[in-house]
């Protein structure tokens, strides 16, 4: 089973193929792509090569490693060509077959995901270790099989990384406070798979999906809420083919729906100037632009300020498509880190806090702040962390 519904052979005759060939060659895709300047073959040129019958050249270049699956090109294409959903995965799969090898760091992350269920290579037995430190009761389905309303799919960074665990603890406290009936999979949970990253490894994606669906089927719950936007999109776009038919939401829009229960408990004033970074997965892909802003505005004392590139125009942090593990590779090629580009913009707005809702962003932006020397001027917080901070005990 391939990542996209067409193959190289069926593309010309297919509806998707015809859609791609309506390209005007306007170049908005390359212009809006955060790495458009460094790619040998941004989408426009790829399609030109396709028309010229010279696709081989695209596959044998490593241009596609620079694609961070941010959806900017697809969002702007005047023809509405599904670039990130159809063309790019197809091109990436072909590149994979032709590349002598993937960069080492990315390989290791993929190997770790296969073996340990997380890209960090941490043991599966430690995945739920953070639960003890949450401060509120958290039900683990393997230990307590009663049905739950919400299955909270915590994901990898939010389970293993200290800053990700801050997010999880905050989320648990919020769920508890607003009376959500939830449970987690604990050590049974494995990475859901990330569409962008796993285009490089479709076999791994299948393995993960098979595993996760088998685990889901052991328990009873109504809906899945997840802390990771990539997991959200995997569940939304890929898992239905394997029978995933539960309600699905990311934590941020989920919490926004309970604003009536949340607002009364947000009693501590946080005198911050906050600027919100729209993550690619939640933002451009799913258009969840307002929910996080509503939540932030509900916090007393918070003043929201918008970056120039906001909502559909947001600049990717660079973590998608495998980018989280390609920083060394990009640096060797002399590319600017996208997270640094974005952080410079945020700092310019004079904000104290850069608010995010994707676990990749916390570590990427905090790194960028340190490297650029701005770490005394600005902190990075997930929306859930800010909400929890505003909640008095």
């Amino acid at each position: 089973m391939s990542t996209c519904p067409v193959t190289l052979e069926t593309l010309p005759q297919s509806k998707e193929g015809r859609e791609i060939l309506t390209c005007l060659q306007c170049g908005v895709c390359a212009g809006t792509c955060p790495y458009g300047e460094v790619m040998d073959y941004p989408p426009r040129r790829m399609i030109a090569m396709m028309r010229a019958g010279m696709l081989e050249k695209v596959f044998t270049s490593d241009s596609l490693l620079a694609c961070v699956a941010c959806y900017a090109c697809m969002a702007k294409c005047p023809r509405g060509i599904r670039l990130t959903e159809i063309l790019l995965p197809l091109m990436k799969e072909q590149t994979l077959a032709h590349l002598p090898e993937l960069p080492g760091e990315l390989q290791k992350a993929l190997q770790n995901t296969l073996r340990y269920g997380n890209p960090m290579g941490e043991p599966s037995r430690k995945r739920a270790a953070w639960v003890k430190t949450a401060g509120v009761p958290i039900r683990i389905l393997a230990e307590d099989r009663r049905p739950a309303d919400v299955l909270w799919f915590v994901e990898c960074y939010t389970s293993y990384y200290p800053r990700g665990q801050d997010n999880s603890r905050a989320t648990a406290r919020l769920f508890h406070r607003i009376g959500i009936d939830f449970a987690i999979l604990g050590n049974e949970e494995k990475c859901a798979g990330e569409c962008g990253r796993l285009t490089w490894e479709p076999g791994l994606f299948e393995t993960l999906m098979d595993y996760n669906m088998a685990v889901f089927q052991k328990y009873e719950f109504n809906r899945v809420v997840t802390s990771c936007p990539h997991a959200h999109n995997a569940f939304k776009n890929r898992y239905p083919a394997l029978g995933f038919n539960w309600g699905l939401e990311h934590v941020t829009p989920f919490l926004a729906r309970y604003l009536d229960r949340l607002k009364p408990v947000l009693t501590r004033k946080l005198p911050y100037t906050v600027t919100y970074h729209d993550s690619c997965c939640l933002g451009r892909q799913n258009e969840f632009y307002e929910a996080p802003r509503q939540l932030l505005e509900a916090i007393p004392g918070v003043r929201l300020t918008e970056m120039v590139h906001n909502r559909v125009n947001a600049i990717c942090c660079g973590g998608g498509g495998g980018g989280m593990w390609l920083d060394t590779y990009f640096k060797a090629k002399g590319y600017e880190r996208l997270s640094e580009r974005r952080v410079k913009e945020a700092v310019k707005m004079g904000a104290d806090v850069l608010a995010v809702s994707c676990p990749y962003e916390v570590s990427r932006f905090e790194d960028a702040l340190k490297v650029l020397g701005f770490d005394k001027r600005m902190i990075v917080r997930d929306v859930t962390e800010l909400l929890a901070e505003a909640m008095e005990e």
Partner: protein, 261 residues
């Protein structure tokens, strides 16, 4: 040329190792097995040699949990033939492992003649010996260990093997083939193979099985583990605890006290 690669699964130390209730071994319930790291390098070196000189790579692995994964991965990486050695009781030592390998190499069709037998230089559980020299002695082949590079001469009769010495020095040795080499590291890190290829190997490929007859009891050669326990290091270092900034200040004070800052 024909290269034989010998693989062994060992406990994966990424997972915490627990001791069994009898205190004499590892708790198998909590154990995951992984291909011994230097064996993985031996396989990679074999594949690199195949790419350079042509020929075949045959992989032999001893039966253990998760060994099928390792064998299918080897096949997906380019091994021509993968054979699982079965029929032995669990909990065998390295000396017995070498014996199993030797028996199967001698008995099973098509494993010999081989120009090179490659295996990892040392595994983390090689308590009572090393596989490479034991197999070499069994077949009266030359042996050299801690190898990080192999070049086979055009004649195919000798190879140049690079061996590591202390202080970053390396030695280039001429070795007459057939020989057994204990690989420390391949010339390149073990290659990545997409999961899809491994899954394809699982569907279409085949793992051969080779039964091993029971070894003659070498009781007087045996070593017995009387007791096993976790190495508790925290009792040796003085652990500094607390919030990061505080700990760093404390440490700084210690260093300053010693004139190191």
């Amino acid at each position: 040329m024909h290269i034989l690669v010998l693989l062994k699964m060992v406990p994966d130390v990424v997972e915490d190792l627990e001791i069994a209730s009898d205190g004499k071994g590892l708790d198998l319930d909590y154990l995951r097995m992984i291909l011994s790291e230097s064996d993985d390098h031996a396989l990679e070196q074999a594949l690199l040699l195949k790419e350079r000189h042509g020929g075949k790579v045959t992989v032999l692995a001893l039966d253990a949990p998760e060994v099928d994964d390792a064998l299918f991965t080897a096949a997906a990486k380019g091994a021509d033939r993968v054979v699982k050695v079965v029929g032995m009781d669990a909990g065998f030592t390295t000396r017995q492992a070498a014996g199993f390998f030797s028996q199967v190499i001698a008995d099973q069709a098509g494993l010999l003649p081989a120009d090179l037998i490659l295996t990892g230089v040392q595994a983390i559980d090689d308590l009572d010996g090393l596989v490479a020299p034991l197999v070499a002695d069994e077949f009266r082949m030359p042996y050299l260990g801690i190898i990080t590079g192999i070049m086979v001469d055009a004649s195919g009769k000798t190879a140049r093997a690079i061996k590591e010495f202390p202080s970053g020095v390396r030695g280039e040795f001429e070795v007459k083939l057939p020989a057994v080499l204990g690989v420390q590291a391949a010339e390149k890190p073990p290659r990545y193979v997409p999961v899809a290829k491994v899954r394809a190997a699982m569907k279409s490929g085949k793992i051969e099985s080779a039964e091993v007859p029971t070894l003659v009891d070498g009781g007087w050669l045996a070593v017995n583990i009387m007791e096993m326990k976790r190495n508790e290091p925290a009792s040796q270092a003085e652990m500094l605890e607390g919030p990061t900034e505080q700990v760093c200040n404390t440490l700084c004070g210690i260093l300053a006290g010693r004139g190191l800052v």
